[in-house]
């Protein structure tokens, strides 16, 4: 032990003493690998990589969270389909992010787009010391973020989209749309150069998913009979405990989502900041729940559990743009307002006849915008102007690109099943396997 040379970590520690933003990771880590201290560099490399791996498997787990949340909120005649879409989209996203996604997003990004082609994964025993972490671990971590974006879409447009057009949309979203907007910021593209700040992706991940979902909802239209003869017809979800389980899974996964977005834990400062991010993330979610509970009680005299679940997620999405700099009261405020957004926006969407089965638009799009716009309140490196620029530019591209794809699908292979099939449920027509074959429907 005593053989050990002091400067190394102290130095690395200082090097990362300021919050590291995605695009800074490379440089930051590079500094960390101070030639003066290979060992500490080695340890830092290992710990940074470990952070990506732990964060990565936690975010991967969120795919199960979306699956359960959605399986619980759709009607039982579409539950098998929803499960199929979720495991299908996660698989598709993983492949597409390798085929084109990662390079478009991160490799030699020329201001607004990276390089085309599959990612050359590291070989056995290879380690790129300049990065300060294993590139494979980074790839894995970025891939699960990409998959999250696709998961968001499946919920909004559930119960009325055929499997193939859905999967094709996922191919384009995860292989092109998400990586392109991602490159603008995390790929160190033009938005990053303007100083846009989105720590873990309120805009880059959640809003992009939300915009894609909104475009889909508008172009595909509501479920049959949802807004029949002027009134909103309610289609209650088939299993509240599954929806609750899904929400808890997502909450758990979010510690990886936000925490590992610190991108390094090889210094005292970094690991301390990751801890702080855990706290703020949890606080924002808690506030989202409490606000949603209080508001539904006041507005409707009953507490709608599905709103409380959405409230947790809205709080999480809201804090995602900046989970590090807020104090605890600020985190509560940011998350709480996220919860309020859900309670107001869900019925509002119904008024607009936008049929969002699981509330993904309020949760991911609206709370994502809120979270991104409020960053400057706690992080002086960000400005409202640039935040707005990011929200608008990314939103415009994500929405437009998604709309084009949905339209193309609508005009070609068609997106919706026949009315009869939709009435009978997609499980029957496309999966051939009922979700609960033995249970009588009341």
């Amino acid at each position: 032990m005593n053989k050990f040379t002091i400067p190394a970590i102290g130095f690395a520690a200082l090097a990362l003493a300021e919050p590291a933003f995605a695009q800074e990771a490379a440089e930051a880590a590079a500094e960390a690998v101070d030639p003066a201290s290979v060992v500490s560099g080695g340890t830092a490399y290992i710990l940074n990589t470990l952070l990506f791996m732990i964060g990565g498997f936690l975010v991967m787990w969120m795919a199960a969270g979306f699956a359960m949340l959605e399986a619980g909120l759709v009607r039982s005649k579409n539950v098998s389909m929803q499960c199929l879409k979720n495991i299908g989209l996660y698989s598709t996203a993983g492949i597409m992010f390798w085929v084109t996604g990662y390079n478009l997003m991160y490799t030699d990004v020329a201001s607004w787009i990276g390089t085309f082609g599959p990612y050359a994964m590291q070989g056995v025993g290879e380690a790129d010391l300049d990065t300060g972490y294993s590139v494979a671990s980074d790839w894995f971590f970025q891939m699960v973020f990409c998959a999250t974006t696709a998961s968001i879409v499946s919920g909004t447009i559930a119960e009325r989209v055929k499997i193939w057009p859905f999967l094709i949309f996922v191919v384009v979203l995860t292989g092109f749309i998400y990586p392109i907007t991602g490159s603008w910021e995390w790929g160190a593209g033009w938005l990053d150069q303007r100083g846009f700040s989105d720590f873990a992706g309120s805009t880059l991940v959640h809003s992009v998913g939300g915009w894609a979902a909104l475009a889909g909802a508008l172009i595909i239209g509501p479920r049959l009979g949802r807004y029949a003869d002027g009134k909103v017809n309610v289609f209650p979800g088939s299993s509240i405990p599954l929806a609750t389980l899904g929400t808890f899974i997502l909450w758990l996964g979010w510690f990886g989502f936000n925490g590992a977005s610190q991108l390094a834990m090889g210094t005292i400062t970094d690991v301390s900041d990751v801890s702080k991010i855990f706290v703020n993330t949890n606080m924002a979610a808690a506030a989202g729940v409490v606000v949603a509970i209080a508001m539904t009680q006041l507005l409707y005299k009953k507490i709608d559990i599905t709103m409380a679940l959405n409230g947790a997620l809205a709080g999480l999405v809201a804090i995602t743009a900046e989970p590090l700099t807020p104090s605890v009261p600020m985190a509560l405020l940011i998350g709480g307002i996220g919860g309020a957004i859900v309670v107001f926006a869900v019925p509002m969407l119904d008024k607009l006849k936008i049929d969002d089965v699981v509330g993904a638009i309020p949760v991911h799009l609206l709370a994502g915008i809120w979270g991104t716009m409020i960053v400057p309140l706690t992080n002086s490196d960000a400005t409202y102007g640039v935040q707005a620029l990011g929200v608008v530019s990314i939103g415009a591209f994500a929405f437009a690109a998604s709309a084009v794809v949905w339209f193309a699908l609508k005009l070609t292979i068609g997106v919706r099943p026949t009315e009869e099939i939709e009435m009978g449920g997609m499980d029957h027509a496309e999966v051939g396997v009922e979700a609960y074959p033995e249970f009588a429907r009341a």
Binding site: V234, P236, L299, K302, T306, P347, A440
Partner: protein, 112 residues
Amino acid sequence: MKLIIAIIKPFKLDEVREALSEVGVQGMTAVEAKGFGRQKGQTEVYRGAEYATNMVPKIRIETVVSDDLAPRVVETIAAAANTESIGDGKIFTLDVGAALRIRTGETDETAL
């Protein structure tokens, strides 16, 4: 023989079943049902949207009994299922032409 169909409130099933056994009813069959009548169901709010649950959960029981026992049975069910509140339900009586016990082949009254 009479087929007596009664629509009752779900939580009354046990009481009705016990009451029927006491008056000597040998068997009955119950089915989960939903109904509407005077009692119209309430309006709920789900994710901010109001909706009416038009039909109320009920239990539909049926029992076939001998003609002479029938009146007792109707009274018994009526007494056991009554909560003096709306939605208590109805009892209908129909004629049964024949009855058969599958296991033994016994017919009519002896089959009940």
